[in-house]
């Protein structure tokens, strides 16, 4: 039962409360670089004496369970969790709720056992957005040929969602899906090796590559460069600084910027309300859970200045180094 959240935590326990912030993996840099500091900052602002227990499960559902258990052993008052495995996280929800600790699903839903709150942008949507953006671009260019699809790790549930989203855009697009590949552990080297092979196989039939994140996108670009052929439009996801550089230099076609700041701060707000014993209501209801969804934004060379730099997500000084300075200048990024 999820109704058990309020009672036991009176306002008196709100100060000095602990809240767990459990992130899923290291394959994407965002959790350590963005989500965690943003969440901590917001929490600090809401409750200066509260403590955030941050853990990263490194793509291991069992480890995440261990981390949740140890957070509970430390007496946290709320758990914010981005599940490694949406299904397996049900155990964590159950255990936490049986100890009257509310669980906020962050970024990925936990369908099997409703959490107390769900805040996200939707991975499937991300997949379809980056693919759609690429497809639209190719159609505009009147490209003819096929597309390669570089998915994430075959053992990663989030990668499965992105893959599904990509298919939803690529399959009906009219471009032939030449081949697709699940990149073990999201490794850019693996993506590079695979794309190199496809280049020998399909030569100039390849008009675009949908890569599921910036790392594999970068690997794909390196494969084309190393083969000495022209780099077709290649997607990414996560808006890493390195990807921003590649977009500025014209090597990568797009990436996607998630409003991590908004999501992280929203979840800190929700957690704080739970800690205070309130029961926040969602904007919508998804998976029987009060929910709040945010929409990520596709970044291309056209809008990179305004999405990433004007909004303050990135600083020009970090990105416009060395050989990228020229590109920045062209785009007016300062």
């Amino acid at each position: 039962g999820s109704g058990s959240t309020g009672g036991s935590t009176g306002a008196g326990g709100a100060e000095n409360a602990k809240v767990a912030f459990l992130m899923p993996d290291l394959a994407s840099t965002r959790y350590e670089l963005a989500d965690k500091p943003l969440f901590e900052a917001k929490m600090k602002q809401l409750c200066p004496s509260c403590e955030v227990i941050y853990q990263n499960a490194d793509s291991d559902a069992a480890k995440q369970q261990q981390q949740a258990n140890s957070a509970l052993a430390q007496g946290v008052k709320a758990i914010v969790i981005d599940p490694v495995d949406s299904a397996a996280a049900a155990t964590i929800v159950k255990t936490a709720q049986s100890q009257q600790v509310p669980v906020i699903a962050y970024d990925r839903p936990i369908p099997a056992t409703p959490a107390d709150y769900y805040i996200s942008f939707d991975n499937e949507k991300i997949g379809s957005l980056i693919a759609q953006s690429l497809v639209d671009h190719l159609k505009k260019e009147n490209a003819e040929g096929g597309i390669l699809q570089v998915n994430g790790s075959p053992t990663d549930a989030a990668a499965g969602l992105i893959k599904k989203g990509i298919h939803s855009a690529v399959d009906p697009s009219g471009f032939k899906l030449l081949a697709e590949y699940d990149t073990p552990d999201w490794q850019p080297e693996k993506a590079q090796t695979w794309v190199s092979g496809q280049i020998t196989q399909f030569k100039d039939q390849i008009v675009g590559v949908v890569a599921a994140n910036d790392g594999t996108g970068g690997g794909s670009i390196a494969a084309f460069k190393a083969a000495g052929v022209k780099v077709p439009p290649i997607t990414g996801n996560d808006a890493e600084p390195a990807a921003a550089q590649r977009i500025i230099a014209g090597d990568q076609y797009n990436t996607i910027s998630k409003p991590i700041k908004i999501v992280a701060e929203a979840s800190a707000n929700v957690a704080w309300e739970f800690i205070q014993g309130k029961k926040p209501a969602g904007k919508t209801t998804l998976y029987n859970t009060p929910s709040e969804l945010f929409v990520p934004e596709v970044v291309t060379r056209e809008n990179i200045k305004q999405v990433l730099f004007d909004s303050g997500i990135m600083k020009a000084a970090d990105v416009c180094t060395g050989e990228y300075a020229k590109g920045c200048e062209e785009l007016g990024i300062k």
């Binding site: 290291l26 490194d58 793509s59 049900a90």
Partner: protein
């Protein structure tokens, strides 16, 4: 009671170069001597463990709390059982890199049969375990027939069974096990009632004393030296105190989990098999000198096969428990560091990678060291980068303590 003539030394005590060691004082002197000589069995690991626990407790006072230790015991079981199998293959000087994949596959098969196909749970468990045994048997055949190094066979197995796991889970990717099933309960919520735990502790202590006493009596009857009654009594009282304390302390929160009891039971069974049966002797002999074992008429191929079967079977059992504990089987079950953790647990527990040296208890102690580090650092709220560095450092520290206390071994001439 004794066939020993008054005043005459026991048959095994007659060499005049032996220093005299009788009774309780003798036993203590023996321990000290063995410590100096570096022949300490598992004591160094225990010392390493104590050091780590102290450090981690200082860093975060929750570490040694009852609740956290209960978690620790439950988290140790699945990988610990896998490490038990690894101990067996390491003992014969081979390796199994595929235990992670096999455990993942076994969890997946269990989930598919039990949840998707709706078979009774015991049948699903049986099927998974049998599958594990068959995998081990295949390894044994490949190893014996073709002489392929086990490193490569099991590396191929690692890949193949990971693929099979993905295939079995199919498009679902992840399958939940029902929370109200006995299996999930067993792994998550079933704890031994306090009275039964204390009974276990008492039974263990009494049994230790009784068996030691009977054995000593037999030895005296045969004219051999034997442990004195006081030594035996002291030993079992010590055991009783330790066990009772553990039970009491864990009982402060949830108590002793059945899954942990199951793990410990397996350790005891394996200990018996390895140390008190002909098969166990053969395992150590094959690991020490396979040609000598063959010349002694041991069916070396059968030993290899049995050990591979055991290892894969334990991996399958571990996989089932891991799935039960998570209440789900998914694509990443068994991947990640299961392999390394299981092998490291065996090695830290004193099992040699070159074969012929190690014990079943090593797996228990080793996995507790590893889970302690992991659990302790989980409590510390570190950046991942720092966490990795600290994990590595603490692991090294634990093993250096261990190795240094073993150190004198070589300088005393026991390589």
């Amino acid at each position: 009671m004794s066939a020993l003539k008054e005043g005459a030394a026991a048959t095994d005590r007659q060499d005049e170069r032996l220093r005299d060691r009788e009774g309780l004082r003798g036993a203590l002197a023996d321990v000290v001597e063995r410590a100096r000589g570096g022949d300490l069995g598992v004591i160094p690991v225990v010392v390493g463990l104590v050091v780590i626990w102290t450090v981690l407790q200082i860093l975060n006072p929750i570490f040694l709390s009852s609740a956290n230790l209960v978690n620790l015991t439950l988290e140790s079981a699945a990988v610990g059982i896998i490490a038990l199998g690894i101990v067996c293959v390491l003992l014969v000087g081979q390796i199994d890199l595929s235990v992670g994949s096999v455990s993942g596959l076994s969890g997946a098969v269990l989930a598919v049969l039990f949840v998707s196909e709706g078979l009774p749970v015991w049948l699903a468990i049986l099927a998974s375990v049998v599958m594990g045994a068959v995998i081990g048997w295949v390894y044994g055949q490949l190893f014996n027939r073709f002489g392929v190094p086990s490193f490569v066979i099991t590396l191929a197995g690692l890949l193949a069974f990971l693929g099979l796991q993905l295939y079995v889970l199919g498009t679902k990717g992840s399958i939940n096990l029902p929370f109200d099933s006995g299996l999930v309960n067993f792994a998550q919520l079933d704890f031994v009632p306090a009275w039964l735990s204390y009974t276990f502790a008492v039974v263990a202590a009494v049994w230790l004393f009784a068996s030691g006493f009977l054995h000593a009596q037999q030895r005296r009857a045969a004219g051999l030296s034997a442990k004195s009654v006081s030594t035996l009594a002291l030993r079992s009282v010590a055991l009783l105190v330790v066990l009772a304390f553990v039970v009491w302390y864990l009982g402060q929160t949830r108590g002793v989990g059945w899954m942990f009891v199951f793990f410990v039971a397996l350790v005891l069974i394996m200990h018996y098999l390895l140390s008190r049966t002909k098969w166990g002797r053969a395992v150590y002999a094959v690991g020490g000198n396979v040609e000598a074992a063959r010349r002694a008429g041991i069916n070396v191929k059968a030993i290899y096969t049995s050990v591979f079967v055991l290892c894969s079977t334990f991996a399958a059992v571990g996989g089932i428990l891991a799935a039960a504990r998570l209440a789900a089987a998914n694509q990443s079950s068994g991947s990640g560091d299961v392999n390394l953790n299981a092998i490291a647990a065996a090695v830290i527990g004193g099992t040699s990678l070159f074969g012929g040296r190690g014990t079943a208890f090593g797996a228990l102690l080793g996995i507790i060291v590893i889970q302690s580090i992991s659990s302790g650092l989980t409590l510390l709220n570190l950046d991942s980068s720092i966490r990795f560095v600290v994990t590595g450092a603490v692991l090294l520290l634990a093993v250096i303590v261990d190795s240094v206390s073993r150190r004198s071994r070589t300088s005393h001439g026991r390589a």
